[in-house]
């Protein structure tokens, strides 16, 4: 009897618990009950909610949450793949030529007003961008615009086969003298251009703008009444916040429903205040800057903050100008033939560039983290990785060049410089040209000229400024004069594009999906004073062939492509058009009360729609 009473009591207690907890658990699983996600925005207000014309990070952070991609990136592999959440692509196939792609779309997706998402939705957007009537920067997805103007991209044409099938002709275009595309050759990265153009609800965009695509520029904050994304209905309070509401009907959420009720970008222009507001619990998550990472790591262990660290998708480097800075010339003439660009008095010689890699101690710039009583050292205090060549950090790149960084060895550097014709003949501690390459090939009177050059970076970036000072000091130790200057960023960009510089410290943030093709930075075709980003004027025929080969591998076999890219990286490593410095350590942190926070390298926010911000 006693046992029975006990059994009854336990049963009653369990029933009571179930009665109390059950509804709460059921309620928790409902959409938009996961609290408010607040992110600090040290940047600025958005400039557009329209993905077809927007071009800044703040804006894309907003509209990226309202529209699907035609081909989405797998956050784990960081590559474009079919059947991804938020992506329309179900599968695709190339024809035998490798230039005709048939894309099959998922048929289960609808806009929030119930209208199916179809091929028309991408095609309307593509027509609008390709019209050239808007200020969209995404025209670079196409080979030519509607009026035949060259646009520099890979998508040559597209055709709707049925509501859920689109056929593309895409690849590397070959133009005739009149600028017409005469041939398309396969290009393994061309498929990524398709995703540069967003998918928009064509029934609403068409109702709003019709064929008057330029009207989108007059209404950049147009938000249609139906969207497809985890958040919607942005409310924009200038200088204060952008708030978006969780979309209750969004079917492609990680959990099957959107957990947060609201996502907020709160403008906090000062990074110190942003950090303190995170510590005060006012922000849900934050990116911790390199100078605070060591302190925060310790604090997180004590306070229970969630922390995730990964290498940056990009790198910081010194770009050496290898051409004559007094007479900047494009890499190619109008007929596509190489132009003689002259040589830089110092960096025109590959031996000198290699010597720089030995003469500058990158490892000491990265430094070490604090360990017990031993304080942190270096500019990055151990929160960075050695960049060796044009590649992203581990976890982002799929190319492992297997190269070791140049060791810090100033004696070796001096030997190489002597071999290159730079030595201290008069004993004044300063290296001078003694039959250096420039004196041999350009101007014999250059003999005797002290080795000096200007090094420029942008003011306000503490890491780059300190890197510049370190380089000046380290090169000064071996008799090289560096005229170092930190200037306004706009002025630096002008200097860089003008190609009148000697050396510049700057960084590239590489996009997703990661593309190791570096033609935009290391080829004659992108070497255009005033516009191109191959501003070092470095050009290597063998490298160009490898870039070309790697993007035209039959069937785009990944293993074959990786091998070719490894060879390309090897050439860059040897030729040193850049002195690759560091890949920063990216640290993301979230409050202890955030559930389902599961960041991935270069995709920290991939599952934000599953987050739950629990009440304290």
């Amino acid at each position: 009897m006693k046992r029975f009473t006990h059994f009854l009591m336990v049963g009653a207690l369990l029933t009571l618990v179930m009665a109390l907890v059950g509804p709460a658990a059921a309620q928790d699983a409902e959409p938009n009950t996961g609290g408010v996600v607040i992110e600090g925005n040290i940047g600025s207000d958005p400039s557009s909610f329209n993905p077809l014309i927007g071009n800044d990070t703040t804006s894309s952070d907003i509209y990226g949450k309202m529209y699907p991609d035609i081909i989405a990136i797998n956050p784990e592999t960081l590559r474009s793949e079919p059947m991804q959440l938020g992506g329309l692509a179900e599968s695709w196939e190339y024809d035998e030529s490798g230039t005709v792609l048939t894309l099959y779309l998922r048929q289960d997706l609808v806009w929030s007003d119930g209208t199916p998402i179809t091929a028309d939705d991408w095609i309307w957007a593509a027509d609008a961008v390709r019209s050239g009537e808007t200020s969209s920067p995404r025209t670079s997805a196409f080979t030519t615009l509607a009026d035949g103007t060259q646009a520099g991209g890979f998508v040559d044409s597209y055709e709707k086969i049925d509501d859920f099938t689109i056929e593309f002709v895409l690849g590397q275009p070959i133009f005739d003298d009149e600028g017409n595309v005469t041939e398309i050759t396969p290009n393994c990265t061309a498929i990524d251009s398709i995703a540069d153009v967003a998918v928009v609800p064509s029934h609403l965009y068409d109702a709003a703008f019709g064929m008057d695509y330029a009207a989108m520029d007059s209404d950049p904050f147009f938000v249609p009444t139906a969207t497809f994304g985890p958040f919607t209905d942005p409310f924009f309070e200038a200088g204060v916040q952008v708030s978006m509401l969780g979309a209750p009907e969004y079917s492609d959420a990680v959990l099957g429903y959107v957990s947060p009720s609201e996502y907020v970008q709160l403008i906090v222009p000062d990074t110190t205040v942003e950090y303190e507001r995170f510590l005060a619990g006012e922000l849900t998550f934050i990116g911790v800057s390199a100078d605070r990472q060591n302190d925060f790591r310790e604090l997180a262990a004590e306070e229970g903050y969630q922390v995730f660290e990964s290498p940056q998708n990009g790198y910081t480097y010194v770009g050496w100008n290898v051409a004559d800075p007094a007479n900047p010339q494009p890499g190619l003439d109008e007929n596509g033939q190489l132009i003689d660009q002259g040589i830089h008095p110092v960096f025109g010689d590959v031996l000198v560039r290699q010597a720089m890699a030995y003469a500058i101690d990158t490892t000491s710039m990265i430094g070490t983290r604090p360990d017990g009583d031993t304080p942190a050292s270096g500019i990055l205090e151990g929160n960075g990785y050695q960049a060796v060549t044009h590649n992203s950090g581990e976890g982002v790149t799929f190319v492992d060049p297997g190269l070791d960084p140049y060791p810090f060895d100033q004696e070796k550097a001096l030997e190489m410089l002597a071999e290159a014709g730079w030595s201290d003949q008069d004993g004044d501690g300063q290296l001078e040209c003694n039959d250096c390459l420039y004196a041999r090939e350009v101007d014999p009177d250059y003999n005797g000229t002290p080795m000096s050059f200007s090094l420029t970076t942008n003011a306000g970036n503490d890491v780059r400024e300190r890197v510049g000072q370190t380089i000046r000091e380290q090169l000064g130790q071996i008799g090289i004069t560096v005229e170092y200057e930190a200037i306004d960023f706009g002025a630096l960009v002008d200097l860089l594009l003008s190609q009148t510089h000697d050396a510049i410290i700057i960084g590239w943030s590489l996009g997703l999906p990661f593309d190791p093709d570096g033609r935009w930075a290391f080829s004659a075709e992108s070497d255009i004073p005033g516009a191109g980003f191959a501003f070092t004027s470095y050009n290597n025929e063998e490298l160009n062939d490898l870039w070309q080969e790697a993007t035209t591998v039959p069937g785009c076999d990944p293993e074959a492509r990786v091998e070719l890219y490894q060879q390309a990286m090897q050439i860059l490593y040897e030729d040193q058009p850049y002195l690759w410095l560091v890949i920063n350590n990216v640290m993301a942190a979230a409050q202890p009360n955030v559930e389902n926070w599961d960041p991935l390298p270069a995709a920290n926010l991939w599952n934000m729609d599953a987050w739950r911000v629990l009440e304290d």
Partner: protein, 376 residues
């Protein structure tokens, strides 16, 4: 007086044109441009062709004087383009159709295309390259926050600085006088960004008794028209005064220090003048002499400062606004300069120039008010 004001306003016209012309020229020749950051931020996807195309569409590929002309009188006049009579009707129809397809929260933007420009002389301040919104809207929505902060700061600075200066003068050499001297040095010497951060750390993050920034609590509320609003739309200023305390303290510190020292000097000069000695000789009490005779006259030179101080109210305070996340004009203008947002920069130049002219007219008026001997 009226004639004087009208004359000063008329004189301002060539001044304004000269200032804008010079500003546009300097701005155009300065390194960097509105599209400098577009390619460098995303070099893999932004070809040189795209940047060149956008420069042409934004009108940035034209010589600076053409750009200035467009900003001043509009594209159609500069290039003698015919105006379409049906354009307005078509625009109205399109706007009506569009409103049914857009959400109620959509913000009003504008076209950055050069072909759309009407010129400032026809009331078109332009469209921000950076934010794609009418410059007038950008300024108008930041103005209330700027005025709140500026007026509160001026009020505090004057109503503390002036009495402190007067009292320091009449108690010359006292402990209070010495204390105010030290306070003035510190108030002028301490950088506002440092002071702001320290105060935030103490009162907002450590003691948690004052807000950590902003003009109001962050919120999103449904307004009567169905759209959304923020806190400042629904909470009156007297219910959010705590947000003003720290930024006003930081901003008014140098004002209090400056006004108090200036008033002290001015008051000492006045106290030592003949008419004050005469008043004393007539047997008036010290309080009567100081308040009724000396103080009023000591205030006259302050009028010189008040005009520019009022301009400062509108101009905003970029650093303090940044530290306290205050959505004011100062931050907007600094961001515009950083991003080479020519239309916003030019609007701020016009406003500053206009306000400076007005400030000096106000100074003249105040002189006349404080000193009946002054006539224009």
């Amino acid at each position: 007086m009226t004639r004087h004001i009208i004359r000063r306003l008329l004189q301002a016209i060539p001044t304004l044109i000269g200032v804008t012309l010079l500003s546009y020229m300097i701005m155009s020749f300065a390194p960097g441009g509105p599209l400098s950051f577009l390619g460098i931020a995303n070099p893999q996807e932004t070809s040189a062709d795209v940047v060149a195309d956008l420069e042409q569409k934004f009108g940035l590929s034209d010589p600076w004087y053409i750009q200035y002309g467009r900003w001043l009188i509009g594209t159609d006049i500069i290039f003698r383009l015919p105006q379409s009579e049906t354009a307005a009707t078509q625009d109205d129809a399109a706007t009506t159709t569009r409103s049914t397809a857009r959400t109620s929260n959509s913000v009003q933007g504008c076209s950055v295309l050069a072909t759309e420009r009407q010129g400032i002389l026809r009331g078109d301040f332009g469209c921000s390259f950076k934010w794609r919104r009418p410059v007038v809207d950008l300024i108008a929505e930041r103005l209330p926050a700027t005025m709140e902060l500026g007026i509160a700061t001026l009020f505090v600075a004057l109503f503390l600085g002036v009495p402190i200066g007067l009292f320091a003068a009449v108690t010359r050499g006292s402990l209070f006088d010495n204390f105010t001297r030290v306070f003035a040095v510190v108030g002028n010497a301490v950088p506002s960004f440092w002071m702001g951060l320290m105060l935030l750390l103490l009162f907002a993050f450590t003691l948690d008794i004052l807000p950590s920034g902003g003009r109001c609590e962050r919120m999103r509320v449904r307004l009567e028209d169905g759209s959304s609003g923020g806190c400042a739309d629904v909470v009156p200023i007297y219910n959010r005064l705590e947000y003003l305390i720290l930024p006003v303290f930081v901003l008014s510190l140098s004002g209090i220090a400056g006004y108090s020292r200036y008033m002290r000097t001015s008051m000492l000069d006045t106290i030592n003048s003949d008419y004050v000695r005469t008043a004393r000789a007539k047997g008036l009490t010290s309080r009567s002499v100081w308040l009724n005779h000396a103080a009023r006259n000591a205030l006259i030179p302050l009028a010189t400062f008040l005009g520019p101080a009022l301009v400062g109210v509108i101009g905003g305070a970029a650093i303090t606004e940044t530290i306290f996340s205050w959505p004011g004009l100062g931050r907007l203008i600094v961001e515009a300069v950083t991003n080479r947002d020519y239309p916003v920069i030019m609007a701020s130049v016009i406003i500053s120039a206009l306000l400076t002219v007005i400030a000096y007219i106000i100074s003249d008026v105040l002189y006349a008010l404080f000193d009946p001997r002054i006539r224009f």
